[in-house]
């Protein structure tokens, strides 16, 4: 129904703009609409939908209900690259913090031993 309405309106637009306002074209439009209706009602009743579905279902993605099961399972190979992306960044910060801690520890030990030496010499 909707397509038939569209059929009328689009061809009316063509008719208003163009040179098709004569009775011949009006008759032609009516004939076209009738033909369109007849053709659109055609169905290939002998088409084997079971075979067609078999071909199509093989190409369709897997049912979505399997997703939660996959989420419960350990991360698959396809998920690993995402983790790999964040790994270098994380290890950089870990290294930086470790370096700062070591530097601070070295500084404190150095200061302490220095104070210890000078303290002993002073006595």
């Amino acid at each position: 129904m909707a397509s038939q309405h569209k059929h009328n309106s689009t061809h009316q637009k063509d008719n208003q703009k163009g040179d098709q306002q004569d009775p011949f074209n009006q008759i032609q439009n009516t004939k076209d609409q009738a033909l369109s209706k007849r053709i659109l009602e055609l169905r290939a009743e002998n088409y084997d939908t079971a075979k067609g579905w078999e071909k199509l279902s093989g190409r369709l993605p897997v049912k979505s209900t399997e997703v939660p099961v996959q989420q419960l399972a350990p991360p698959s190979d396809s998920q690993r690259p995402q983790q790999k992306k964040s790994r270098p960044l994380l290890s950089f910060w870990k290294m930086a913090v470790a370096a700062m801690v070591l530097l601070a520890a070295g500084f404190i030990v150095g200061r302490y031993s220095n104070w210890h030496k000078t303290g002993n010499q002073g006595r």
Binding site: M1, A2, S3, Q4, K6, H7, N8, T10, H11, K13, D14, G18, F24, K31, D32, L35, S36, R38, I39, L40, E41, L42, R43, A44, E45, Y47, T49, G52, W53, K55, L56, S57, R59, L60, P61, K63, S64
Partner: protein, 180 residues
């Protein structure tokens, strides 16, 4: 089964719903594709590809009554068919010589729908595409011109030639009978 339930099932990626929709609409959609491709093997491939697109992008579909499903699917099938035809060269160029045929009466009126369908599929690709888009699928010449990247005048002249060729084919059938 209710169409809205089937669509809801398809949106949830449920195979039973996808199968139900396919079984319901495949016989009419393959006819849409056959009108454009002109043969059944290509039509089936194009139709399967169209259903794939529909199921993959079903979140974009808004249900507005039972007719909206077939109208939406038909648009996808037309688009897929045109994509298929674009792979073939010269789809809108003139492929046959013009011949004069009387326009006093429409010989198509005397044929059955199946016979008319058969004749449409026998039209050269360019004529067939424009005849289908304008006469059967109700597009305007401007829409066709935009879709096929041609001039509006080209669409009009191709349609006129397609009509004349169809009439010529009907006259031949009346004289010699339909040959397969």
């Amino acid at each position: 089964m209710e169409a809205i339930r089937i669509i809801q099932g398809c949106k949830e990626n449920q195979p039973w719903a996808q199968k139900a929709l396919f079984e319901q609409l495949a016989p009419s959609m393959i006819m849409v594709c056959r009108r454009y491709t002109g043969n059944l093997p290509d039509a089936e491939e194009v139709m399967l590809s169209g259903f794939m697109q529909f199921f993959l992008k079903i979140h974009l579909f808004e249900y507005r009554g039972e007719g909206s499903i077939s109208a939406y699917l038909r648009r996808i099938m037309i688009h897929e068919s045109l994509m298929h035809l674009r792979k073939q060269p010269n789809i809108t160029e003139q492929e046959i010589e013009d011949t004069l045929v009387s326009e006093e009466q429409d010989p198509l009126d005397r044929l059955s729908t199946a016979e008319i369908m058969e004749l449409i599929t026998r039209l050269p690709t360019g004529y067939r595409t424009i005849f289908n888009l304008y006469v059967i699928d109700g597009m305007s010449h401007r829409e066709i011109a935009d879709l096929l990247h041609i001039k509006e005048g080209t669409s009009k002249s191709q349609l006129s030639k397609a009509r004349r060729l169809l009439q010529q084919m009907v006259i031949k059938i009346n004289n010699h009978g339909i040959t397969t």
